[in-house]
Symmetry: C3
Subunit: 145 residues, 3 copies
């Protein structure tokens, strides 16, 4: 049984979704794990994770726009606004999506569905350096560490 | 330490929630794991997972109806609508609920609360074949594989 | 490889968020795990988990208030209201946040970001006893159990 930690760093360029599927798959392949799980975790409260349709960019465009309408920056009720109109809204949008996601590994592969991609969902207007931790954990083909 | 993969297949009959608690419990019992976790993961972007009140069906009826009001099919702002009015809405509703869920195992049992059931949440109008992967991982009573 | 179960019990005092970061960190330290994951799971359908900004209480105040506006107690459409206006709304708010969350462990520590705290999100008006299970799982420095 193995547990391997790796880290994905990305530079976001404002609000939107940034795909990290390839980086997570690489971490899983490097771990040599045959059966187990890949836990992904984002260390931030103004960005989140989401597994979303990754074939047609219009699907994610709808997600971006719909989230703007659901969690409005011009809502006059907010009090946590020291860092601007995208301060409290970034936390609310993070809470509605995911901080951690756990994906099965079997046959030595990350077992995503055909249309699933893993994305960092940036909720701040400015560019940010974001860190996603990956813990690949499970058994190896030989059972040997 | 063990990591066992199994798969649950269900045929949905349009929008709604479909309970899979028994199938997940069976996978955990079959794994012989005493202490660990059961990771459940749905391989789709137009259906999701949710742990919800499973005693009174009216609770889930409210979930279904409320989700229709929150993520409206008649919203004129969507652009990802090639597959109909339940196309982009199915992705949005998936993103607001869960793709993965991790449930503790201890004393050899799936440790759900009294009122918790595990459901596949179908967001498409048409019937679909849905697949949920289960990874049961942890230690066995004897510590022997 | 180890898998250790522990339990956090808290008494809530009505709606709001209650921090449990210290208790989760203590469970991880007690487990002696060097690299792995801490799975936290709340056994309830009218309370949930959320990882949120824990430095400025106004951030959580906005979360509480915004959730009241999104999932309104005075919505006339609900049918699951036997236990009062906070009955079905508590389930809906739970479904929008988290039942399980999985946090990496590395270097023997719970790997939260600087501003991340772990909270129980109580959705009922009355005080409740809430239970959160923690499964710490992974490898120890020596590889010995």
């Amino acid at each position: 049984m193995l547990a391997k930690h790796s880290q994905i760093s990305i530079r976001t360029r404002g609000k939107g979704t940034y795909e990290i599927t390839d980086q997570v798959e690489s971490a899983v392949l490097a771990s040599s794990i045959e059966t187990g799980t890949a836990t992904i975790f984002i260390r931030h409260t103004s960005a989140s994770l989401v597994i979303y349709e990754n074939a047609d960019p219009s699907a994610r465009e709808d997600l971006h726009r719909w989230m703007e309408r659901l969690v409005r920056e011009d809502d006059p009720n907010y009090i946590h606004t020291a860092e601007g109109p995208d301060d409290t809204t970034s936390h609310l949008r993070m809470a509605l999506t995911r901080t951690s996601e756990v994906i099965p590994i079997f046959n030595g592969r990350l077992a995503l569905g055909t249309w699933q991609g893993i994305f960092v969902f940036e909720h701040r207007r400015a560019a940010h350096d974001r860190v996603v931790d990956v813990i690949a954990m499970g058994v190896t083909p030989s059972g040997v560490q």
